[in-house]
């Protein structure tokens, strides 16, 4: 089982400034899953109740000179502590930047190398696996070892791959969030009022969030959002109805779906804006199995989707509800 690659400057920037801060909010521990072509950060795919997040990079988006081999179709997966990974990367970058700033970079090429190693830690007889970063500074070199779990067994890996395949299911209707920061601030305030949120999404482009307890009902409806996938015409003459009534009618007509999710999970999903996506879309998968949020990234300076990066989250549904 071998893995070795060099992080590109673009890859360093993507991870350190954008994805690691966002993914850290999803949970401290995640699985890194490496294949011949892709590099994944996976949260909660093997244990059911948390928010699932799937960040996928084509190897070229992060690395050059990417080499991987294993007896399991050149796939490797292990668990890692994201905060340790983030700290190690930050420390490596400081030294790396020092090298570049002295202008010697042009003469001798410098790299941040990342690889899997087994080492004997002090006071131990048992070799332990690490993800190791290595680079040179102006006068020094630095190695950061990030401890990782034992690589996943063939059976666990199969389970992880199956979970990943399931997680790729797309909702039929997706609505585009107009202003993620505003929605985040709004949900941040809303979460003081209750723990469970009803989320309904209609084919007319309505996103309706509601927290309802015995003491209070607090909701927000965002209308006329951009719809991807199945859409429907807004019924005439419903403009003056309350948000609740409109949503109820849309559900009865089969034009909307509603699910209950944890407010905490919903808030976490919004914190993915730290990865600086260009747009976010919410949708409910068939039979209300989960609430999905898909983030879209553009190729810098264009309105074209950057297909080498993808990020989406799946929020577990608390109560399958009546639909």
């Amino acid at each position: 089982m071998k893995f070795k690659a060099n992080l590109t400057d673009h890859g360093v920037n993507l991870l350190e400034k954008r994805f690691l801060p966002a993914l850290d909010k999803m949970g401290k521990i995640c699985h890194l899953y490496l294949t011949r072509d892709h590099f994944f950060f996976l949260h909660n795919l093997l244990n059911g109740d948390g928010i699932q997040s799937i960040a996928q990079f084509k190897k070229e988006a992060l690395f050059e000179d990417y080499r991987i081999s294993s007896q399991n179709e050149d796939r490797i997966a292990f668990a890692i502590d994201l905060s340790l990974l983030h700290r190690a990367l930050r420390s490596i970058i400081t030294v790396y930047a020092e090298f570049s700033s002295h202008g010697v970079g042009g003469v001798v090429s410098n790299q941040i190398q990342i690889r899997l190693v087994k080492k004997l830690p002090a006071h131990s007889q048992q070799p332990t696996p690490f993800l190791t970063f290595e680079t040179k500074g102006y006068k020094s070199a630095v190695i950061q070892d990030v401890p990782i779990s034992k690589p996943l067994s063939r059976a666990d890996m199969a389970e992880l791959q199956a979970a990943l395949d399931t997680a790729q299911e797309m909702p039929r209707t997706l609505v585009k969030v107009r202003d993620m920061n505003q929605l985040e601030q709004f949900v941040d305030r809303m979460k003081h009022v209750g723990d469970v949120m009803n989320v309904s999404i209609s084919k007319y482009g309505d996103l309706h969030l509601q927290i309802s307890t015995t003491l209070i009902t607090l909701g927000a409806e965002f209308r006329k959002l951009l719809v991807l996938g199945e859409q429907a015409e807004v019924p005439r003459g419903e403009g003056n109805l309350s948000a609740q009534t409109r949503t109820q009618r849309a559900i009865q007509r089969g034009d909307a779906m509603i699910v209950q999710v944890s407010v905490k999970h919903f808030f976490k999903s919004l914190q993915c804006h730290l990865a600086k996506p260009d747009c976010a879309f919410y949708g409910i998968t068939s039979q209300g199995a989960c609430l999905t949020v898909i983030f879209q990234f553009f190729v810098p300076g264009t309105r074209q989707t950057d297909k080498s990066i993808s990020l989406h989250c799946r929020l577990p549904v608390l109560d399958p509800g009546s639909n």
Binding site: L215, I216, A220, R223, K224
Partner: protein, 305 residues
């Protein structure tokens, strides 16, 4: 009665009002939120809305939201409807309406079909926030404050809110009981805490007229108040209001009852290109009044009148 004061079933509503600065109301109500779970009584009248909270029959706070604070205020009830709400929930709920970038204008209606308080954002295109807050039959207020003057000359002083808050915060260290003394000659207000140690803070009228803005007292008077109640009168005022740094007026009434009054601006947030008024000027009608009443501690050492 205008058509908007009637609900969908044709029943008249007691109150329909609109507000263009939710944040101001959030600030005012936050000032009297001294603990997490707090029941409040709301009283509606033709003059405005009053919210009352109290604790242990020793501390009461009132927030006066006069009708002039509202862009629209349509009151059509008989008598003065009163209802109870959870203050924390009400403030958290209002706070949701004041997300930057949103219109910050809301409509409040009472009662809903199930006696709820109904709130709804207005004027925002394609986005609507709404809330229904359940109300209760109000508890009777366990003590009613007939705040009466202590004599022919009123005993009061006005001090910058930030200085008052700072003084009370500093008095946390000595302990549970704080003595407030007013004396006419030289005109001076003294806060004294005794406990683990003792700490005395003097506001001298002539020494610093910027700090102690007004002073009225014809004889020495002194009462003790529980620290935690005194603290509740300033501790929760939001930083933005403290930075406005208006004066807070403290009056001692008959029997040593302390009245603390604060002013909170509920002005519409300034539009960026508007001309600059002279410093601190606010229309008097865009101010929410907050009053705290604190009962003195009864002990033998009280030097009264």
């Amino acid at each position: 009665m205008s058509s908007s004061a009637i609900d969908a079933d044709g029943d008249a509503l007691d109150l329909v009002c609109q507000l263009d600065n939710v944040q101001g109301i959030v600030d005012a109500l936050t000032s009297v939120r001294w603990k997490r779970h707090q029941d409040a009584v709301v009283e509606l009248s033709e003059h405005g809305i009053v919210l009352i909270v109290e604790e242990s029959s020793c501390l009461q706070a009132k927030v006066y939201l006069q009708k002039e604070l509202f862009v629209k205020y349509e009151y059509s009830a008989e008598g003065r409807p009163r209802f109870g709400v959870s203050l924390g929930l009400f403030v958290d709920c209002l706070n949701t309406f004041s997300v930057p970038g949103n219109s910050n204008s809301i409509e409040i209606r009472y009662p809903g079909p199930d006696m709820q308080l109904l709130l709804k954002s207005v004027d925002s295109l394609d986005a609507c926030i709404y809330a229904e807050v359940r109300t209760r039959i109000p508890d009777t207020i366990s003590w009613d404050y007939n705040f009466e003057p202590a004599g022919s000359t009123p005993l009061h002083f006005t001090v910058k809110s930030a200085a008052l808050k700072e003084a009370i915060d500093d008095l946390e260290w000595p302990g549970s009981s704080i003595q407030i003394t007013l004396q006419p000659n030289p005109p001076c207000v003294t806060f004294r805490g005794e406990g683990h140690g003792d700490l005395q803070i003097d506001f001298m009228y002539y020494a610093n007229t910027d700090l102690l803005i007004a002073f009225s007292c014809d004889r020495q008077i002194s009462y003790r108040y529980k620290y935690k109640f005194l603290r509740a009168t300033t501790a929760n005022i939001p930083g933005s209001v403290i930075r406005d740094n208006r004066g807070s007026k403290l009056t001692i009434g008959r029997g040593g009852m302390l009245k603390v009054q604060h002013l909170v601006s509920v002005a519409k947030p300034p539009v960026s290109h508007s001309h600059v008024d002279y410093a601190g000027y606010q229309q008097p009608s865009r101010i929410a009044y907050i009053e705290f009443f604190v009962k003195p501690e009864v002990d033998d050492n009280t030097v009264s009148d």
